[in-house]
Each structure stands twice: as structure tokens, then as C-alpha cells.
């Protein structure tokens, strides 16, 4: 503990604190440093001034769910010893192109503050932030202990920025680049890791498309003996993959490159043996353009798999079923809906330990009905996988009865995200709204934290949610509801609600203003294409100074309507970096 940070504790002025008064700061700090959960730490800091002080000195990791809820100055002032920062920026709907470009969430100001106050910063995890090459270069040059960089759904940088990281971060252990809007000009960044560099443990560049220098990659993999996670991109062929596997039998997580190649018998056998030799692989992804012919090379490796990500592989039900038979220990599975209900039945039959299932649509914009998955597949999984608690399911039809069965089989859902892809679609057998489906979910699944609803929904769904979903933290609503009452039920009824995102619903000013008191206990509210007016937003902003009320205007729309509203609590006041299309009220 830094000695200059010690301050004499003041004597407490209440009897209850008499006990803690004799508890030396040093011990308290050691005890608190064992606390890792952010929520526990927040609670601790509220106990009393001594604990607040001890907590802030001992905290090394900070998680900021909304980068505008606090400023770099406030953060660095309160926590002097931070080594690890996680920052989330744009509202989630920016993933679906609903947020204007240049909206904000730029990391640079944070990095400048960190360079001054946290020169020993080791880890940076960013989600939906704007990151420029300049920022990456700044990061690479100003933090000698920097170890871990994770960028998820960020945008604004190119492979040049990655080159800077590779060149200068001598202690890097993790480089994880996922699903970013990255300008991928060349794969030469990978060759920038110096030959003396050996500390890498995690390398994920599956998101990038440019070819990398495979020799450089092989050498890198060979000399980084602690490499546990390797996820390569499409440009890596099967033969190249085999050479990498041979050099890294200790791998635990593997993302393959393209699984499509002309392999004669000998290289195929080599590939199979390379996979067999990697006995620690528990996570498998990639498999771009997988041809069923080569999947058997994986079969032996599948025995220990706990996470299989086939969401970029268009497998049909038959070939998928053959694969899944070999994966009895699977806990997490991501697939495309090309596997169809039959494929999901195979999952139900073979994966009793399954906890998480995500089914993505291969062809979401197709206007004709094609197969894909229906309620039957979901039901089949629920019968076979009783431990299921996380589902993301894109489908074209659903029934209330099916959902009721599903939650009866699996009452432990914590995350239930059902997307019936046609907006406003009723139960296709009874033609009724899907209210009872989600009613069943909230009534049965008392641990539910996250819910996404879809289909034809009246206010009844929201009455159910408000009445039963007492642990709900995140709710996503689209094309649903009948009146303000729906939204009001949720705002009044869900005590733990933190994030509410609504689009294209008939909720208006009354609903918005009914949540006045509530929004300060939430992280954020998003409402777009609803019936909210500018005046209501102004009223809200006026009455709640600790909320930022931002309206994004679309060109050519009615001036009195608030097209997109983003409201969030903050201690940093209104932000100054908003683009012209974003009005802060």
C-alpha cells in the first residue's frame, strides 16, 4: 500500500462506528482489496467515510457502463490506483444503425487522463466506443505496463492502430478484436510483434479480413508458450491452421480460419491428428465456409467442448446433427438457423448440460418463408436441456403454448431474448397476441434479468412484466404495446430495472414522464419512433438535473416530435462533445 496515501482516520461520532474505529486502515484496505464485484464495492463505499476511503484506495478495477455517466476527471480523482478499466459507450441500438455516426463515446479524452493519473494502467476493455488510430498509438506509447486490450463493437480505427499496439506494447498478454467497424487495409500489423515478444496469451483477430503473414503468425505462436486463446481470421487456410495447432498444443480456445479447402488424404489426416493433439480445447469457433466433409476432423476434439460457436457456418440439420453427437459436454452453443428444428432436436438429445443457446438467422431479410427454426426446435431443446438459462432465438413463428412449455421445462432463465422476426406477428396457431407467452416467462422465471420481447403484444404483456419480473434489469421492446399504460406498468413495477430500450411503440409523453423518479436509478432509457414530443423531453430535463436528456433528430422530421431519445443518469453534467444532430436538453 502506498504510504503517502495514509491519512489519520477521524474518530467516529456514533456508537456504532466505535467498533470499526479501532480497525486500522491498512487491514481494512487489505480486506476490501479482496472484493472483486463492482456492486459489492459500491455497497462498501456507502457504509461510512472510512470505508469509502479504504475502498477507493484499494480499488484496482473499474467498470463504467455508460461512459458519459462520469467524467475522466471525476473518476481519476476518486480512484487513484486503477489498473483495469472497462468502458461502454454508445447505446446498444447503435449496433443496429439507429445511432447517428459521430455520436460520441470517444476514448481519447479518457486516455489522456489515464496517461496522467494511471500511468501503470494494464487493462482496457471497450465496448461501443469510438477509437481512432491516434488513440491506439497514444495508448501504445504511454503505458509501459499495458497488458490487455479488448475492443468489442468499436469503430473508427484501422489496422494501423493495431500495428502500433503490436509494435510498442512489450508486455501485451491479450489482444482481442471483436466485431468492430475497422478499416482493414492490410494484415501487416501482425508482423509488427517483435521477435523478442513472447508474452501473448490471447490473440483474437477473427474479425479482420486481410491476409496476415502466415510465417510471422507461426513464429509468434511458436514463441508465445503461454498462448491459450487463438482465433484467426478467414484468410488462414486449413493447412495453415494445422501448422499452427502443431505449434500450440496447449490451446484452450480456438477460432479456425476458413474450413474450406482442397485437402487430399494426407493433409486431412494431419489436420485430424493436430486437433487430437490439442487436448485442452474447450471453445471452438470460426469454421468459416465449413464443408461437411472436413468436420469429422473435429469429432475427437468435440468431446471436451463446452462452447461451440457455429454462428458463421451454414450447416444443414443432418451434418450438424452428426457433429453435435460428439459434443456431450456442451454448455454454450451458437448456431445459424440453417440447422433447423431437426438440428435443435439433436441438441436436445445430445447436450444435457447446455446452459446457453443462441440461434441466429442466416437469411433475415428474405421476404419469403423459408425454413429456419420454429417453436418446435426451441421446445425440443427445452425438453433435453433443463439447465438452459440463456437464450437468444430468432425465428419466424412462435406460439404461446410453446413458450409456456419451454419455461415450464426450464424455469431458471436469466436471459430470455426471443425475436420473432416479423414485427407484430401473433401466435400463428391461435392468432392471438403473444402476451401469454411472455406472461409465462415472467411468472415462471423468477431469476429473469434480461428480457427481449417480440411478436404481437398488447399492454397486457407489460402488466405481466411489471407485476412479476422483480429481478429484471434489462428490457428490450420493439413494435409492441397499445398505450402509455404498458410502459408505465414496467416503470412502476420493476424495481431492479437498469436499462430500458424501446423502439416503434405507441408510448408517449405520459409514459415518459411517469418514470421521472425512476430514471435516476437506471443506467439509461432509449425511446425511438415512439410518440414522445420535444416539449415533454424539455420538461423532463428541467425537472431532473442529474439526467442527461438527449434527442437525436432525423432530417426532415417534424420539429415537435422527439424521434430518438436517450436519457441517462450522470454526475458529469451535460456532455460537450455531442454532434449537431444530437440535442442535449
Amino acid at each position: 500500500m502506498e504510504s503517502e496515501s495514509k491519512r489519520k482516520k477521524e474518530s467516529p461520532n456514533t456508537a456504532e462506528l466505535a467498533v470499526t474505529a479501532s480497525f486500522p486502515d491498512e487491514v481494512l484496505e487489505i480486506v476490501l482489496s479482496l472484493l472483486t464485484s463492482h456492486r459489492d464495492r459500491s455497497s462498501v463505499s456507502l457504509v461510512c467515510k472510512d470505508w469509502y476511503r479504504a475502498e477507493r484506495w484499494s480499488r484496482t478495477q473499474v467498470f463504467i457502463g455508460n461512459c458519459y455517466s462520469v467524467s475522466p476527471e471525476i473518476l481519476t480523482r476518486r480512484f487513484p490506483n486503477i489498473r483495469s478499466v472497462t468502458l461502454k459507450g454508445k447505446p446498444r441500438f447503435s449496433d443496429f444503425n439507429l445511432v447517428p455516426p459521430n455520436w460520441g463515446a470517444d476514448i481519447h479524452a479518457w486516455l489522456v487522463a489515464f496517461a496522467a493519473k494511471y500511468p501503470f494502467l494494464e487493462e482496457l476493455r471497450l465496448k461501443r466506443m469510438a477509437v481512432s488510430d491516434e488513440s491506439l498509438e497514444f495508448l501504445a506509447s504511454n503505458f509501459p505496463n499495458f497488458k490487455l486490450l479488448s475492443l468489442l463493437s468499436c469503430d473508427g480505427f484501422s489496422t494501423d492502430g493495431l500495428a502500433a499496439i503490436a509494435t510498442h506494447c512489450k508486455n501485451l498478454t491479450e489482444l482481442d478484436i471483436q466485431e468492430n467497424g475497422i478499416e482493414d487495409s492490410s494484415g501487416s500489423w501482425l508482423s509488427c510483434f517483435p521477435e523478442s515478444f513472447t508474452s501473448l496469451e490471447v490473440l483474437n483477430f477473427a474479425n479482420l479480413t486481410s491476409e496476415v503473414n502466415t510465417d510471422a503468425l507461426e513464429r509468434l505462436v511458436s514463441r508465445c508458450k503461454s498462448l491459450k486463446v487463438l482465433k484467426v481470421n478467414k484468410s488462414i487456410s486449413l493447412e495453415q491452421l494445422q501448422r499452427l495447432l502443431v505449434r500450440a498444443p496447449q490451446l484452450e480456445e480456438l477460432g479456425t480460419g476458413s474450413f474450406l479447402q482442397d485437402l487430399t488424404a494426407r493433409p486431412y489426416a494431419d489436420l485430424e491428428s493436430a486437433f487430437n493433439n490439442c487436448k485442452n480445447i474447450h471453445t471452438l469457433s470460426g469454421l468459416w465456409e465449413a464443408v461437411p466433409l472436413y468436420l469429422p476432423a473435429l469429432y475427437n476434439s468435440c468431446a471436451n467442448l463446452t462452447f461451440l460457436n457455429l454462428s458463421y457456418t451454414a450447416l444443414q440439420s443432418g451434418e450438424f446433427a452428426k457433429l453435435v453427437v460428439h459434443c456431450p459436454r456442451l454448455r454454450r452453443l451458437w448456431v445459424l438457423d440453417t440447422v433447423e428444428d431437426k438440428g435443435l432436436e439433436a441438441v436436445g438429445s445430445n447436450c444435457p448440460l447446455l446452459e446457453e443457446l443462441r440461434v441466429f438467422p442466416a437469411d433475415p431479410f428474405d421476404e419469403e418463408i423459408i425454413h429456419g427454426v420454429t417453436e418446435e426446435g426451441f421446445v425440443a431443446v427445452s425438453f433435453g436441456c433443463r439447465r438452459l438459462h440463456y437464450v437468444l432465438y430468432f425465428c419466424r413463428q412462435m406460439t404461446n403454448a410453446a413458450v409456456a412449455t419451454i419455461v415450464q421445462n426450464c424455469p431458471n432463465f436469466t436471459h430470455f431474448r426471443l425475436c420473432i422476426m416479423t414485427p407484430g406477428l401473433p401466435d400463428y396457431l391461435t392468432n392471438e397476441p403473444m402476451d401469454e407467452a411472455f406472461g409465462a416467462v415472467v411468472k415462471t422465471c423468477s431469476k429473469l434479468q434480461r428480457l427481449s420481447v417480440s411478436g404481437l403484444l398488447t399492454d397486457l404483456t407489460f402488466e405481466y412484466i411489471g407485476k412479476y419480473a422483480k429481478n429484471l434489469e434489462t428490457l428490450s421492446v420493439a413494435f409492441a404495446g397499445r398505450s402509455d399504460r404498458g410502459m408505465q406498468c414496467v416503470l412502476e413495477g420493476c424495481p431492479k430495472l437498469r436499462k430500458l430500450e424501446i423502439r416503434d411503440c405507441p408510448f408517449g409523453n405520459e409514459a415518459l414522464l411517469s418514470g421521472l423518479e425512476k430514471y435516476e436509478s437506471m443506467r439509461s432509457l432509449w425511446m425511438s419512433a415512439c410518440n414522445v414530443t420535444m416539449n415533454a423531453c424539455r420538461r423532463l430535463a428541467k425537472q431532473m438535473p442529474r439526467l442527461n436528456v438527449e434527442v437525436m433528430k432525423e432530417d426532415g422530421s417534424d420539429d415537435s416530435q422527439a424521434d430518438k431519445v436517450y436519457i441517462y443518469r450522470t454526475v458529469a453534467g451535460p456532455r460537450r462533445d455531442a454532434p449537431p444532430s444530437v440535442l442535449t436538453l
Binding site: 441500438f93 458463421y312 440439420s317 440453417t338 421476404e367 425475436c419 416530435q561
Partner: protein, 293 residues
């Protein structure tokens, strides 16, 4: 079904084959009649006519909304006035804001609601790019290592002209219909490197115990000796495809890469219906088809 007719689903009893807008040319309708897709009462043709009448009207099917559905501005009062149990989707244009196609929509060639379904832009772009990135050279070189009776000539130079990018297809999926089965399927051609693989998958897809002698492919890839029944005409069904020019051809005639470049959709046709297929095309197009039926 609702009174307004715009909230609709496919009922299992409808047996409508849902056809795309591109199958509206009169020549094709004629051809469909000739091949006799059995649906009772020409229901299929009705559906075609409905579909070709425009994307907005037509038969009862659920679909992703297009910009046409949102073209009218709906005032807020109409949203709340509907008291029937089935709302029309137009009610959800709550604030009457304009919808604009985003770049992903442009890539797919159709306009749709912005940001719906909620799939990350990265994932959408990946799926689109996957379709375009596969070159048929790879498929063709795979052919040389197949142990089955080779039905495909080694024509690397031909294939290089007909690379997958020339398909002009944004989706790797083609429709497959089988005579006697009302609802068609879709198949990802990119997942197959050769005819055998494709046919094996089709056999899995359309396998029905009640259908007599339904054997498209006599064996799996591991047994090289049994010939492909579908492709040599000894099955009750033949596999045909419609090419870019709208002609129906027997699958297996041309190199795989060339096939990929020209196939628009597939049909598993009863052999009895297919009799005279090649000669008819020969007559009408004056092109040589050297496959005996």
C-alpha cells in the same frame, strides 16, 4: 386471419408455395404448368399470380415489412383507437417517422425497417460477404480428389470465368422444390463443393418414408462404387435446375463451377414429368443437350 388482412401467418393448411417476385414471367408460368407441380386446383399458380401482383398484396404470408408498408404517415390517434384484438402492422408506425434504408439494406437489394431484425451490422456484413467470397476454383480443384464416378470435367479455365462472384447473388441460398411437397426449402450452395455433396444433402432434406423409391444418391461419399441414381436417371425423380436464362436443365451436365455460376433454383422433378425436358429445350432454343433421359 384478421379482418384487415395485413396481419397474417402461414397456416399449415394453406399449402401455398411461396414464390419470389422473380418467378412472374409468363414463360415460367407455362413451364410450371407443364411440369405439373401438384397442389390441387392450381393453387400454386394462383399464389404466383398473387405474388407477381406486388409484394404488398398477395397471399397470406408473414414477412419482414418493407418500406412500402410504412409509406403512409400514421397519426398517433390511430394507434390508440384500434380496439380489435389484431392490430395491423401499420399501427406501429407510431410517430410517422420516415424509414430510410441503411447500407445493409442496400447490400441486400431490398428496403426494410432500419435496424430490424436486431442483428449486429458486423454479422450482417459477414453473411453477405461469405456469399461473395468463395471462388469456384476451390470447388473445382476439390473435384479432382473425389473418389466417386466423376461426372464433372476438369475445366479450370471455364470455372475461372464463372466464379461465384459472377453469380450476382447476395444470398448463397437457392430455393429447392420437390414435386408433391408444397413448401420449398432453401439450400446453401456454398456449403457444397461438388454434386455428390449437394445431392446427398437434398436427399436428407426431402427424405420421406412415404415417398416410394426416393433415392437421389445411391450412397454416401464413402462408398464410391454405387452410382448416383438421381444423376443417371434410374430414380423416380430427377434433379433439375433453372439457369440464368430461364431454361430448365438436368443437374450434372456441366462442371460444378459453371453450375454454381448459372443456377437460379432447383427442382426435384418426377421422372415422368421430366420426360422430354431436354428435347423440348433443344427444340425451343436450338441448343445441344447430349444427355439421354
Amino acid at each position: 386471419m384478421s379482418a384487415s388482412g395485413s396481419v397474417s401467418t402461414v397456416s399449415r393448411d394453406d399449402h401455398l408455395v411461396l414464390s419470389s417476385e422473380d418467378s412472374s414471367s409468363p414463360v415460367e408460368s407455362e413451364l410450371e404448368l407443364g411440369l405439373g407441380l401438384s397442389l390441387g386446383g392450381g393453387g400454386f399458380i394462383k399464389a404466383q399470380q398473387q405474388a407477381s401482383g406486388g409484394g404488398g398484396g398477395g397471399g397470406q404470408y408473414a414477412r419482414i415489412l418493407t418500406a412500402k408498408d410504412f409509406s403512409s404517415v400514421v397519426s398517433s390517434s390511430s394507434c390508440l383507437s384500434s380496439s380489435s384484438s389484431s392490430l395491423s402492422r401499420g399501427d406501429y408506425v407510431a410517430a410517422g417517422t420516415k424509414r430510410s434504408s441503411d447500407s445493409v439494406a442496400a447490400a441486400n437489394g431490398s428496403s426494410q425497417v432500419v435496424g430490424w431484425p436486431p442483428i449486429r451490422a458486423y454479422r450482417m456484413n459477414s453473411m453477405v460477404n461469405q456469399a461473395k467470397s468463395v471462388a469456384s476454383e476451390e470447388y473445382n480443384s476439390m473435384m479432382e480428389n473425389k473418389r466417386k464416378n466423376s461426372l464433372v470435367e476438369k475445366t479450370t479455365d471455364v470455372c475461372s470465368k464463372n466464379s461465384a462472384s459472377a453469380k450476382g447473388r447476395t444470398s448463397p441460398f437457392v430455393k429447392v422444390n420437390m414435386d408433391g411437397i408444397p413448401i420449398g426449402r432453401k439450400i446453401d450452395l456454398n456449403a457444397h463443393g461438388c454434386y455428390e455433396s449437394l445431392v446427398q444433402t437434398l436427399e436428407d432434406m426431402f427424405h420421406q418414408p412415404t415417398t416410394p423409391s426416393f433415392v437421389l444418391l445411391g450412397s454416401s461419399v464413402q462408398e464410391p462404387t454405387r452410382p448416383s441414381k438421381l444423376l443417371d436417371g434410374t430414380s423416380d425423380y430427377v434433379l433439375t435446375y433453372e439457369d440464368k436464362e430461364g431454361d430448365w436443365m438436368l443437374v450434372g451436365d456441366v462442371p460444378w463451377g459453371m453450375f454454381l455460376g448459372s443456377v437460379k433454383r432447383l427442382r426435384i422433378m418426377r421422372t415422368s414429368e421430366a420426360t422430354g425436358l431436354a428435347p423440348r429445350l433443344q427444340e425451343s432454343n436450338g441448343r445441344q443437350r447430349n444427355r439421354p433421359i
